[in-house]
């Protein structure tokens, strides 16, 4: 697993209080990990802070799964 994926996983586990095994790339924040709309905003802000990037609102809407987040961050940080 890439460094970005590890860090994303850590944030998701900490924030949503879910088991690390459940946090796989296909896992949907809302459908599989029990996040509500506020959680998703908080996660986006946590990613911004962790990776020093900005995630605009329209991009944030496309981030539905753990894999989406990792992909977006890897692209932004590159």
């Amino acid at each position: 697993m890439s460094d970005v994926a590890e860090r994303v996983k850590k944030i998701v586990v900490e924030h949503l209080g879910v088991d690390a095994e459940k946090v796989n790339p296909e896992a949907s924040f809302i459908d599989d990990l029990g996040a509500d709309s506020l959680d998703t905003v908080e996660l986006v802000m946590a990613f911004e802070e962790e990776f020093g990037i900005e995630i605009p609102d329209d991009a944030a809407e496309t981030i539905q799964t753990v894999g989406d987040a990792v992909k977006f961050i890897e692209k932004s940080a590159a």
Partner: protein, 245 residues
Amino acid sequence: MFDLTGKTALVTGATGGIGAAIARSLHKQGATVAISGTRAEVLETLKAELGERVHVLPCNLGNAEEVEKLVPAAEAAMGSLDILVNNAGITRDGLAMRMKDDDWAQVLDVNLTASFRLSRAAMRGMMKRRYGRIIGITSVVGVTGNAGQANYAASKAGMIGMTKALAQELASRNVTVNCIAPGFIATPMTDALNDKQKEAIIAKVPAGRLGTSDDVAAAALYLASAEAAYVTGQTLHVNGGMAMI
């Protein structure tokens, strides 16, 4: 009841009568308080009076950059921020026909926009910690209107609407957002009135007297307490019965 030991609070406009009374009351119940205002020496005097657990954070709420730094400064000084009291407010009274854009904008900036910015900054930590109290000091005129105060009334009514929206956003995280709407409170502002003017005001108040800063502070203490956990999005009117809304 209403024990705030270990809690941290930021009170804006703590140089004024109501703000100082709120800071005193939260502090007396055990909270660590950060007091803010534009006049540093008045804040220092209040700090000297209160003693331990007080941080002085001067800030001009008309300046967006200073506003953005206030909550982070309070969190840095106290380790967290559990209670935000948006108390600071200004007036630039005048009949609407003669009101300048600048008088409108300044009042909206300080009374409403700064309250929003401070709330936005504070809610992040509150959401993370799953606990918070945001209290806005609005005014009876935000609900009833008042000739000569189109700007002030608009800012105070705006605060009530904002409070309801924030309350809905944050309720699931145990963060409550409420307003207190004082009526006529005895402060340096009302001291300037002559006896006849005061009599005319008191005639409209069923309680038969002006309110005191402590009357408002008691309401703030209640809303700041853990006991008020199920009260959110509300406006608590503290006005001796002058308007029953």
